[in-house]
């Protein structure tokens, strides 16, 4: 197994929903790449631990509900970027729609999911910094893996 840097990873968004929630369904969609993404962060499910400590014996740990996570990718704000514009549209407070996302790794592996965008705050730091945005993307579906051959 060969490890690699994250350089070349992309994140893209689509307003459409897949016909089927698998690699084929997501693969048929057209995605618009989001420019200026600095990093994605952790991408994957986290299942709650439900613990029970009997009087006798070790603590039992069971799997509870699963949260498929949140992305807060820092983005160099560019109002002329089509992907960022769609992301801003998705973040509207009264926009309850699910959007489809595709993360593509440098080796061609893809991760698909649907999410709602809960905000697109613009971050303005000091003079020697880039105007950034930190959207909150709440993942609402199972993350579908489509690894390159």
């Amino acid at each position: 197994m060969v490890s690699s840097t994250a350089a070349g990873t992309t994140l893209a968004i689509s307003a459409a929903a897949p016909a089927t929630f698998d690699a084929a369904g997501y693969g048929a969609l057209t995605f618009t790449e989001i420019g200026g993404v600095e990093k994605l962060g952790a991408l994957g499910a986290d299942t709650e631990t439900v613990a029970f400590q009997p009087l006798k014996g070790p603590k039992e740990k069971h799997k509870g509900p699963t949260d498929y996570g949140t992305l807060n990718p820092p983005i160099a704000h560019d109002k002329s970027d089509a992907g960022q514009t769609l992301l801003r549209t998705a973040s509207g407070p009264t926009n309850h729609a699910l959007y489809s996302f595709k993360a593509t790794m440098p080796n061609g592996d893809k991760r698909f999911f649907q999410a709602r965008v809960f905000g697109y705050p613009e971050v303005i730091e000091g003079a020697a910094s880039i105007v950034m945005a930190t959207p909150r993307i709440e993942i609402c579906t199972v993350i579908v893996k489509d690894d390159a051959v």
Partner: protein, 87 residues
Amino acid sequence: MSETKKLARIKSDFSDNGTGESYTKGQKLSLDKGVFDNYVAAGLAEAATARATPRTKPKGKAAPAAKAASKTSAASPPAGEDLGTSD
């Protein structure tokens, strides 16, 4: 995979980081349906008609024609009233 093409009118200047394409406000072009749908959802494009330029009525010519029409219409009853029925 082939997609249906859609005729789009660009509503504001923007660029697509994934395709490397840039678009100008007012530009009219054919886009793949999936691309078109995303741009429309983002408010960046809208469906366009096939007409290259919008039809406009020349203001100067309309006035004399309207006066001539009003003179002729005063001489004869409006069409349809003689029969008393409509199609």
